[in-house]
Subunit: 157 residues, 3 copies
Amino acid sequence: MGDADTLFRLAALNTDYASCIDADRLEDWPGLFLEHCLYKITTADNHRRGYAAGVVYADSRAMLTDRVAALREANIYERQTYRHIVGMPALRPAEAGEIAAETPFLVVRTMRDGRMDLFAAGVYLDRVREDSGRLRFAERLVVCDSSRFDTLLAIPL
Amino acid sequence: MGDADTLFRLAALNTDYASCIDADRLEDWPGLFLEHCLYKITTADNHRRGYAAGVVYADSRAMLTDRVAALREANIYERQTYRHIVGMPALRPAEAGEIAAETPFLVVRTMRDGRMDLFAAGVYLDRVREDSGRLRFAERLVVCDSSRFDTLLAIPL
Amino acid sequence: MGDADTLFRLAALNTDYASCIDADRLEDWPGLFLEHCLYKITTADNHRRGYAAGVVYADSRAMLTDRVAALREANIYERQTYRHIVGMPALRPAEAGEIAAETPFLVVRTMRDGRMDLFAAGVYLDRVREDSGRLRFAERLVVCDSSRFDTLLAIPL
């Protein structure tokens, strides 16, 4: 698999990922991860300092599924719309059988009354593996530029 | 034509599309559509409810050309600058001879005095066909996250 | 080298470029340019009028390196974070041995207190060449949509 193919498959994975969240198909989102995985939302400051804890932390697909169920229960998701704009992935050195990539992202939020704001910006640090014929996340660290989070960050980024 | 090639050609079409609008080459914009086509700007709410009407609606290249002429006449276009940031297309199931894709977009507006704001965000739902050696839109639905439109939406998105 | 390959290598160059700035690896940034190069930040208005002068101007890699040193000295860089979101490049007609491309960009700034704003939007007009096995910029014109600049534009875009 050449670099161009790899980048394309990564870009397609990122598009699927964003689409699950932005089109409110949250139930499909955990399936983009391996069963044993790491999903973490953290800040650039904390990532730089090597803090393991995240604002959001899940280490299995089952935890991600639970998270989606909780979001549906709380019913806070429907009040606004998110739109991910995701840049091209940059390949990084990786272990055998894995692809490592760094990908910038921006999330714009639209409120019910039409107001739009910049919700989050940052970089995805990913480890991705082939699994049953498609790429899935072994690890996605969502490193946010901002250190200020509001409760809405219950929502996947 | 492999998926990677298809995605690249779609990405190039999207770049041309954005460039026509952002570089004020509006007269080139209708040429990116087939003669018989559908161009519609609508809201996520209305799209979900299946409403056929759009904030903007054109079903032929000639109508798009008329629209550009009207914009030039009204001379409202020159007062601000638009910048489309368009994500990677996600391929969707399509009829034979067509490509279907879903592509997120964000439009930033810069006013004459330098102020910038988020003008629109949403997703393009496209059906694309080969025509005289290049891809053209059979259909572009511009589904906006926001339900609030101002008159500026006379401008193509 | 086919168009798809070219686009991918350009996209990877753009990602590297953005990553140097956004991840505060400014010292790596001049290496993305040829020794004899042109780097200019200008406005759409001035570019249209054919003004040669730029808000920022450098015509060698050494000047870019000096610029980074000055930024480090002034220590103004660390107070905020930038995030480039860069679109797909559109290929343009080029001289033999060169690739010419036009690429939209958006830069979001995050302040130390968490506030985010739209910092800059515009288009990169690039001439790129193969040099020692990788692509480097012979010329990057950063054409900003806004004509209003503040002192922060000491920072590369």
